[in-house]
């Protein structure tokens, strides 16, 4: 079976997914849509696809699935439209920055029984997958403490920051998803501290650039997350899981693994400087998993509910940082009328 894809949005991340679809032997990129026809054409010509409007893709008989890479504020609308159109949907995170909008969207998805997978690419990184496998294989016994370090090479433009929903919803949200993935149990409380240490303009835009978060589950498992918008040494992406019988950690990745020694010491090159090169395998695995789910008529994972749960943790963390107190997820989630299907402990 070959899955026929339509790509919505031909920007940076659109190109990444187009390549993943193009290189997958079980997929074909049939059509590309973008407000800028030139961007769409650039991708379509590379993979022998057509340039179409979103409407045309919505109605097309030769499209089985769409990859949504448009601006965040269009995600929920597009998911609803394509769910109703009977297409399988892969949507870049987040579904929306507002919990209620996400809940409304997921209700449509549920009603239409559409397949929806949310783009938490890190779950598909080979190294992080190996960490998860080691846990599932019992290599470290019972999970007790998870440590996630996630630092960007450099801060994005302040314009991006302003539209991003803030560091917790834009950046830490990946770590919240990994925390849930690795803890194997939902967090019930969160304490967050947030500062502006990297760039004052980020603070002027109402956001933070440096955050530390503790999550705790009902059974007392803990997860610590450390984020910075800037690491001079590259894209710092580490995971460490401490358990009753041992520890498993994923090392940082660099483009080349050489070491130069001289009278100053032994030096290895900086890490990847961009999420696209760091996670190139993850993006390919992610699309492959989506295709595989469709082939098996299985449940897409990470699901819309996973996206919602991570967003709720982001909201709770922001509230914790702003109010200077630990937030009980339970209470917070109830207050925000949670989606009852959510795996989040609401």
């Amino acid at each position: 079976m070959t899955v026929r894809f339509g790509l919505l949005g031909a920007g940076r991340i659109g190109k990444v997914h187009a390549r993943a679809v193009g290189a997958n032997p079980n997929a074909r990129l049939v059509a590309v849509a973008d407000a800028f026809e030139k961007a769409a054409r650039e991708i379509s010509s590379l993979y022998g696809a057509e340039v179409r409007t979103i409407e045309a893709i919505e109605k097309a008989d030769d499209i089985d699935a769409v990859v949504i890479c448009t601006p965040t504020d269009t995600h929920a609308d597009l998911i609803e439209r394509f769910a109703k159109a009977g297409k399988a949907i892969f949507c870049e995170k987040p579904v929306d920055l507002d919990v209620k909008r996400v809940e409304k969207c997921l209700a449509v998805v549920e009603k239409t029984r559409a397949a929806l997978m949310v783009g938490f690419n890190r779950r598909f990184d080979p190294h992080f997958m190996a960490v998860k496998k080691a846990i599932d294989d019992g290599a470290i016994g019972k999970v007790e403490m998870v440590t996630i370090t996630s630092r960007d090479p450099g801060a994005p433009p302040v314009d991006y920051i302003k539209r991003s929903g803030g560091i917790f919803r834009d950046m830490t949200i990946h770590d919240f998803d990994m925390a849930r993935f690795l803890l194997g149990e939902e967090p019930v409380s969160v304490s967050a501290h947030a500062s502006v240490l990297v760039d004052k303009k980020i603070g002027e835009a109402g956001d933070y650039d440096s955050v530390s978060v503790i999550l705790e589950t009902a059974s007392g498992k803990q997860c610590v997350i450390s984020n910075s918008r800037r690491a001079t040494y590259g894209y710092d992406q580490r995971i460490e899981v401490h358990g009753s019988k041992g520890m498993v950690a994923a090392e940082n990745q660099r483009p080349v693994s050489i070491e130069i020694a001289n009278d100053k010491g032994y030096t290895r090159p900086p890490l990847h400087d961009f999420f696209m090169t760091r996670y190139i395998d993850a993006y390919a695995n992610e699309i492959a998993a989506f295709i595989d789910t469709m082939s098996r008529k299985g449940k897409a994972s990470p699901s819309g509910a996973d996206g919602l749960a991570a967003l709720k943790l982001a909201d709770a963390a922001l509230k914790s940082a702003k109010q200077g107190k630990t937030i009980r997820i339970q209470a917070y989630v109830l207050a925000s009328k949670p989606d009852r299907r959510s795996p989040c402990p609401s």
Copy 2:
């Protein structure tokens, strides 16, 4: 100049300090006191020292300084006695488990102008000293985020736990001291989560065995501490400092650095399994620094005030974990009538 030492307490840590004194070319171990004369004799014979009573050491003309390694609940009394006797004092941490008792003791020290150094040995570990030097040399720019991972090979007996003052005052206190040492600025708020994951008996004794802590300073610098009472892979002691221009980290230490590769992979041996072998160099450096301070008539560091500041952080962390909220140090410290000379932000 040769500093003439009296050792009070000939137990496990007493032996460590006796060896450090014995091997130091600028020091001589003159006398040892212990309630168990046999223990005192064992050490005294190794280093050509005499066995004496505490009273005799207190009055002795041939003793310049004492090392206090007796049980914790005797520390404050002994400090006061030897301060009045005009001896320089090196005291194992903590001065006392109670902030008010510490403050009273430090008032006596101040009045007598006695030299008092508190045994936070990690400041003298060669690897951590190199981390501090890298920071001071500007190698990583401005300090922003400190990460301290500190896990014991195994939990101590529950009897010890009961007398220990709890994990924050007994174990995390070392990390609070390192946090202050490395942040270069006092923490003003603390959020702590604490669980019993390792051993239910620890919980039954009213203590925790797994904790995560976030400290934040007035300028927004953050420090994350992760503790567990049990790490199957050895004594896990890591420090990482992220700054505006880079990062510096101290790696874990193992007794031998070999690697065995076979069809199961590449394996390096576990870490040190005991704090005494892990920190053998630190203990030697610590005593050397104390002697050096005496020779130079300089101010002992870490001081009693450092011990007090770490204890206050421990108390605040415990309160945070118990009450499930972030604790402002300022408020807490004021409430406990702080020592005004303290470097703690009181």
Copy 3:
């Protein structure tokens, strides 16, 4: 410009090159030939290519270049035929196992002015390329001593061994090429020791499975090569270059970079277990370099002369091991009527 390729030989390595051609935006796989039509069809269908005979590819107007992946004893004949047919040629190593046959073949290549690139894939490994770049950038000063460790995960079938030309011509030849690549100067003498330690059957087939080689250049630079046909820990491929100002080394590669710690120690997974996964990027870069050379009408590198030079070193090493003496390349090469165009010091 798009280079139109014909693939000769649809076996294991043929598939690797087909994928590299298929994924390259500047290339297209037009035709595949193989004695087993089924093998050819398997590849052709994946990349939208046709199955054709070698003769048809030889005469085709729509083929610019061929990739020769047929059995070794057909390489020289095919190179000559396609050189005369005016096609650019990428040939898997070796051109032939016999120096005289290689020389005759290269004479035809020279006469026809055909472009010929020999498949020493390791020159295109990103990590080894970074080592070479560090040398060229002056990071280690003048090259003095090169150390190459190359161990296979497991010995090939004895049938393969018998047709392989022996370990020096089959396996060490890659290291001889890397030695020349990294030394930047031709070896003038070689000392080799060879044993059968892995599998007696290899010895019975007249070959060795464990070899150590020293190469020396006219200026005294040295290269040490260590080979084994079996490494339980995976495909061990290391390079280290020591120079007047420092050292540069390429680390081994593993599929996933995680570490699991427990009471037995800290374990990282074994290395790649297959040359195709280890060198997947190298094969892609290699074909890209071939295409780039064609586009620029530049000189292909590594050339036929490079293949010949490495083969001569292999012959000299075998002679050294068998006779138990150091072989001067100069003398040996003259005796074998060397190709005068060779970069080898003949």
Copy 4:
């Protein structure tokens, strides 16, 4: 039992051994002799020892053992004198630079039944000991290929070079001993290449500064040794042993294990810059082993025969490098009238 020591020679290495004796609870330094009384006095005062003449130590009743750290050309004479005087002898390597002189000396030792241990300190390095233990424990199966990398931080003064016996007898001799120690079987042939790459003056003094050596045993085990008189990155001391079931390697050692990351990459400090700091534990273990042997009336190891065997390998390697041919140890050793008690395959 306390072993009472006399130290002959109060130079650099004499101080190292004095410290090892002084810190050992089962030993006491009783007397020190040196042509320069001031040097002797410096050591004697540190450890409460007397300054005496060699003659006085020879005749002393209160001396059980001597440590010989005088210039190389006095070693054999002193060994003979103190063997006859009934003292146990620890002698810095080498016994002598001349094989015949060593053989004559060892004959005296044998006749007097004196205990003689030769100072191959590396056997006592904790990391190398762990490598040996892993081999003995069967962790890597049958030993097949040993790789020894040994590079000095910087070349010694040319004056030293002239008296050193040349790089093979002065520097590589340590590696020859380690090769024998790790191979568990005597080498029967050696191929060596030697160059002057570091300092022309070393060449003018008739010596080399860069050498590569292959040793082979009767069963075909191989050992590769790589030496340079200069490594900008510190004292490079690595051992790797490849066997039928796996590999074991000892990593390089550095004074502090930190890593600094910035936009240039991840940098660890250089290695130790001096053999005394690198091998401080080895020297202590070595003296402890000597004392232990005396206490148990056991056979000292490494023995005089070990010293002789390593010297013969050094001579053979020099011959190989000079004549450009592989040297059969058997033939060479017979030609030099070998000591029949030697473990060397003579």
